[in-house]
């Protein structure tokens, strides 16, 4: 009975998503603890970021080691426009997204001509250049001491100033991003992206404009990261360059790899794990870098499909019809 129900759900994308969304939206009613809510809020932001990177890395197969930079650009643009220039936060978010999208589009063309290692290094270099800019443009960004006084987002008189309110705000954005990405994954564009990943030359022969599509996805991925950055800025009301450096780019990469390249739910799993784990292992604070390194290596060696493959193999085993005892093969 349960098997059949699970099987039914798994095969219907929309139903699966609605259940997932319902669970996420109902969580605050069951867990009163403010601390947990705060962490889950970050899981939301990280999920958004991981999905953005996954579209580029897991689907299109293009590696980026500088994605924290787009996150930071969104945060700083929003922060500066609202704190220093008192622009409406929603407008600022929109402007930040547009600017980052255009930037990524323009730089995407030369950068995505590169492949493999060279692309990795180029994105790494790009990320570092932007990180250095955050630190050095002190007049604009406040430099290493950060930028404070960023207002919360608000709708009319309703201000998003508590963890609970921000939880819903962020997860609304995240769930929308998830839904749109799932749709994209199962569509013509999703197939075109995966085709580029498997054999770019064959994809082009089939009419896929690989060059343009890669840049479009790069840009989309950057926009998602920027929006996450804006949300982050308005939630924290204070940002500093330290959160947007190479270490975070690596953390994002780890989330995507662990969760499972090419799986949207996997990005959630990876984000959740890497956000919750450090909190649970508070005592092992300094070990986090070592653990990330080990996780990356071991997961890539032994579980290249990520946790999601593992999980879905488990689910498949659970829902497939049991074979009769003593029988051989299928009836």
């Amino acid at each position: 009975m349960l098997n059949k129900l699970l099987g039914f759900i798994v095969k219907r994308e929309l139903l699966k998503f609605l259940i997932f969304a319902a669970i996420l939206l109902l969580i605050p009613f069951f867990f009163e603890g403010g601390y947990l809510l705060n962490i889950l809020l970050f899981v939301g932001i990280h999920t958004m970021l991981a999905i953005g990177l996954n579209l580029l890395l897991g689907f299109a197969g293009q590696i980026s080691l500088g994605h924290a930079a787009f996150f930071g650009l969104g945060a700083y643009l929003s922060g500066i426009l609202t704190a220093t220039y008192s622009i409406n936060p929603w407008l600022a978010m929109f402007m930040a997204a547009v600017v980052v999208g255009i930037m990524a589009f323009v730089i995407g063309f030369p950068i995505l001509k590169l492949k493999g290692h060279y692309l990795a290094m180029a994105t790494l270099g790009l990320g570092i250049i932007i990180y250095i800019a955050f630190n050095e443009a002190v007049d604009l960004t406040g430099g290493p001491s950060g930028l404070s006084g960023i207002p919360n987002l608000s709708l009319g008189h309703f201000i998003f100033d508590s963890d609970l309110k921000n939880y819903y705000l962020i997860w609304t954005f995240t769930l929308v991003t998830m839904l749109l990405s799932i749709n994209l994954a199962h569509s013509r564009i999703g197939r075109a992206l995966r085709a580029i990943h498997d054999s770019e030359v064959a994809a082009r022969v089939m009419g896929v404009n690989a060059r343009l599509l890669k840049v479009q996805i790069f840009s989309l991925s950057a926009v998602i990261s920027a929006i996450a950055g804006s949300l982050y800025a308005h939630t924290m009301t204070f940002i500093s360059p330290a959160s947007f450096g190479f270490n975070f780019s690596v953390e994002l990469l780890t989330m995507v790899v662990i969760g499972g390249l090419g799986s949207i739910y996997g990005s959630f799993l990876g984000a959740a794990l890497l956000t919750l784990l450090p909190e649970m292992l508070r005592a092992f604070q300094d070990y986090d870098i070592v653990i990330y390194g080990l996780l990356l290596i071991l997961m890539t060696m032994f579980m290249p499909g990520g946790l999601v493959r593992c999980f879905s193999a488990f689910v498949v085993a659970a829902i497939s019809p049991k074979k009769p005892e003593g029988g051989k093969g299928s009836a």
Binding site: S187, M206, G207
Partner: protein, 250 residues
């Protein structure tokens, strides 16, 4: 239908192709043969937009397509298959063919992300058509198999189905019989004929002489980067220059 004129291609000091000119007549099955190193695959790569030629032009139905990238050629109705079968390994057999229908559908990023109604209808049509092409080559029962797990012979068939899904005017096959046993090659010959019957022009680079002589209406022979001879299969078989090129002097 496809006219290649004066193609010259150099790789560093090596002249791979020297002033090669060939024509492929509409709805013919034309073969391109020659000993190893003759430049056949290089020629195909130039025609299909993967390399850029140093000199010379390519015309498709009198339209100059020299230097056009593969994606542009796909829209004009030209498709190719690969010597090393470039399948989308991590996608299912059905999905592979659905990519072949990429030029026959238009939903962009926004339409797909928001699942607009036009997109949904298009998906259904694409899926149905893809299944039909799998039927055409006889592997419909393997639709959900991951392409990387296909046995080699079926993989070749999948490539053909995928190429056909593009609804091309001309299909260029690069050594389709490579790695096939005689039964599979006979099957292949049948499919090539079926393809031509649908009104498509076929160009074939091949080493398997039986297949070539069996299936081709016309043959071009290349040797060491230049055109050696052309003619019907019978004429080529009796051409002494061709024979000595293959067998060597003496």
């Amino acid at each position: 239908m496809l006219r290649i004129s004066g193609i010259t291609q150099k790789f560093g000091g090596l002249v791979a192709l020297n002033d090669v000119s060939l024509t492929f007549r509409r709805q013919d099955i034309t073969g391109v043969i020659g000993p190893n190193g003759a430049g056949k695959t290089t020629l195909f790569n130039i025609v299909t937009g993967i390399y850029r030629q140093n000199l010379g032009t390519v015309h498709l139905d009198d339209k100059d397509i020299s230097g056009f990238p593969p994606e542009k050629l796909a829209i004009l109705g030209m498709v190719r298959t690969f010597q090393n079968v470039e399948l989308f390994g991590q996608m299912t057999v059905l999905e592979n063919v659905m990519v072949g229908l990429h030029t026959r559908s238009h939903s962009g990023i926004l339409a797909c992300a928001f699942k607009l109604p036009g997109h949904l209808k298009e998906e259904r049509v694409v899926r149905e058509r893809a299944m039909q092409w799998l039927d055409f080559v006889g592997i419909a029962d393997l639709a959900q198999v991951e392409a990387a797990n296909l046995p080699f012979g079926k993989g070749r068939l999948l490539e053909i189905a995928r190429a056909m899904a593009l609804e091309p005017r001309i299909i260029l096959m690069d050594e389709p019989a490579a790695g096939l046993n005689s039964r599979e090659t006979a099957e292949l010959a049948l499919f090539i004929r079926k393809v031509r019957e649908s009104g498509i022009t076929v160009a074939l680079v091949e080493h398997d002489m039986e297949l070539v002589m069996d299936v081709c209406d016309y043959i071009h022979v290349l040797n060491l980067g230049h055109k050696l001879a052309e003619g019907t299969p019978r004429e080529i078989q009796e051409n002494t220059e061709v024979i000595s090129a293959y067998l060597g002097e003496g």
